[in-house]
């Protein structure tokens, strides 16, 4: 028994991820070789990022948090702290893959569902407007009332050439924007290798990436061994950043196609 979204990417089930030509024919060196993500910005919408953590490499250039007053969300400049460690973990994974990219952080933890949804919307909008090329989302909203707002924002990102990478949510019920077509939705596979990712031709969760027993940065300059879809997403955000740095100006759709074309062959045993 595996988490629903991880099941297609794990163990014997993986053999069913049949590849069709021309996928599998693009070499990784062609897709993202010779770049470290320089010139691009990646936003981490999460619990904040610890600016001084060695795993972030001093690349955090902007850090904000969302403050809510009623239904009004204000973006407030933050000093770059993380009360949990989760956002620092995501930023550390991205930095390890794309050390040249600049990191942005928006902290969005909120106490209740609606407040959380509104803060999340405001942070996502900020990330799109602030010039992020890739936005890593390790959280999602269950608020039906905000469905249309999230949909509009996901479309705006897509048409503004901003790639949203979202962790799939294993909890039943709606989950926005992680199940939208414009988003790269990621679950954890069971291979302990950050350079392995799989493409699943049966949406909504199209990619499986490293999310089992990952050694990540954590708050207080520490490290933690973690498991979950929210650690798989930043691996793919990192790779997507390299692709978008190597081929400047390509669309989210083209980026997704290259991610699929360079995915590991599920038939190869690892």
């Amino acid at each position: 028994m595996l988490p629903a979204w991880s099941e297609p990417f794990s163990g014997p089930a993986r053999a069913r991820l049949a590849r069709q030509r021309p996928f599998g024919t693009v070499a990784r060196a062609e897709a993202f070789g010779g770049t470290d993500g320089s010139g691009l910005r990646v936003a981490v919408v999460d619990s904040g990022v610890e600016a001084t953590h060695p795993a972030v490499g001093g690349r955090l250039v902007e850090s904000v948090r969302v403050e809510l007053s009623g239904d009004d969300a204000a973006i407030v400049v933050d000093e770059g702290t993380d009360v949990v460690g989760h956002g620092t973990a995501a930023a550390g994974i991205i930095h390890a893959i794309a050390p040249g990219a600049e990191l942005l952080s928006a902290r969005v933890l909120g106490p209740d569902n609606r407040a959380k949804g509104l803060a999340f919307l405001a942070a996502l909008e900020w990330a799109i407007e602030t010039g992020a090329s890739v936005v890593n989302l390790s959280l999602s909203s269950k608020s039906e009332a905000l469905y249309a707002d999230f949909h509009a924002l996901a479309d705006r990102a897509y048409f503004s050439n901003v790639l949203l990478v979202s962790a799939a949510n294993n909890v039943p019920g709606p989950s926005y924007p992680s199940l939208f077509a414009a988003v790269v939705s990621v679950a954890a596979h069971d291979v302990r290798d950050p350079e392995v990712w799989f493409y699943n031709p049966s949406p909504p969760v199209e990619f499986g990436a490293c999310g089992l027993d990952v050694d990540v940065a954590w708050r207080g300059g520490g490290r933690m061994r973690v498991t979950g879809n929210s650690f798989a997403a930043p691996h793919l955000s990192g790779i997507a950043t390299l692709i978008r740095a190597r081929h400047r100006g390509i669309s989210p759709f083209e980026t997704k196609a290259l991610l699929a074309a360079t995915a590991d062959d599920p038939g190869e045993s690892r």
Binding site: M1, L2, P3, A4, W5, S6, S10, D46, S47, V83, V84, G85, H86, L109, G110, P111, D112, N113, K116, S138, L139, S140, S141, K142, S143, E144, A167, N169, N170, V171, P172, G173, P174, S175, L179, A188, D190, P204, L212, D213, D215, V216, W218, R219, G220, G222, R223, M224, R225, V226, T227, G228, N229, S230
Partner: protein, 269 residues
């Protein structure tokens, strides 16, 4: 039967009802309610099947906005019951806020999670799973599972097992909430009735308004009650109004069905 006899029947029925409601309200305030028993059996099952040292469930207290640990299982678990943490603090708070299930383990000798809880309970876990308790109506709490007994880190299967237990707990909590709400609805409607001048007979409209007012207090926390109120009021409509209401409901049902079909396609698992 004379009119006076009928009034006397109504009067004694009301007294019996008040007595029942009083006991019902008192019973649901006791923490050993069926809801707690089910939650306790869920954490016990989690400990047994995931082979963990301990498991616990924290629920959001809407009055304080904090997560309060309600039940626990395992030798190391009990000390956590009653502990309250901020709903955006620590790993439990993160999982509650983000809705993302996580498993964490020590990467060095100084685990950076659960330190606050560890200081208060005397138990410092080496590893933990935290899974949100949630359904379509939102997130209501967090299930935590601490330390595998074989010392191994939690894997994807443990994470999925915890998610299944969290679903059971969520369903149990939702059912108990409706029971509690029903008792408090009866109590508050009867209290309003008792406050009225007893000599004045109540019209059907008056009683309907009284029950609706009592229901609206519950609707703020659970939209099911607003719906229940609307449905029961439809029954008082005249035939013309009823037909209009049915037409509206019919078109609403069609549009919801269309939306659900689209979502099902999107949300297939």
């Amino acid at each position: 039967m004379s009119r006076g006899g009928a009034d006397a029947d109504v009067g004694s029925a009301l007294l019996v009802l008040r007595g029942v409601v009083g006991r019902l309200a008192a019973a649901t305030r006791l923490e050993s309610g069926t809801g707690t028993i089910v939650l306790r059996s869920v954490v016990q099952a989690a400990v047994a099947l995931i082979r963990a040292e301990a498991a616990s469930i924290a629920l959001l207290d809407p009055a304080t906005g904090r997560l309060v640990f309600r039940v626990a299982a395992g030798e190391q678990g009990d000390a956590v019951v009653g502990l309250a943490i901020g709903s955006d603090e620590g790993v439990a708070g993160y999982v509650f806020s983000s809705g993302q299930p996580l498993a964490l383990g020590e990467a060095d000798a100084d685990p950076r999670f659960g330190r606050g809880a560890a200081e208060q309970t005397g138990y410092v876990p080496r590893s933990l799973i935290a899974v949100p308790l949630g359904d379509d109506s939102g997130t209501i709490g967090v299930l935590e599972v601490l330390d595998r007994r074989d010392g191994e880190p939690f894997d994807l299967r443990d994470l999925e097992a915890a998610t299944v237990f969290a679903r059971q707990a969520t369903a149990a909590i939702r059912a108990t909430q409706l029971d509690r709400d029903a008792a408090s609805l009866l109590a508050s409607a009867l209290a309003s009735l008792a406050a009225l001048d007893e000599g004045q007979p109540l019209s059907a409209t008056d009683t309907a308004a009284l029950v609706s007012a009592a229901t609206s207090e519950l609707s703020a926390s659970d939209p099911t009650w607003a719906l229940a109120d609307a449905i029961s009021r439809i029954r008082d409509a005249d035939p013309g109004q009823l037909e209009l209401v049915l037409d509206i409901l019919d078109s609403l049902a069609r549009s919801t069905e269309r939306r659900a079909t689209t979502r099902r396609r999107v949300g297939r698992r």
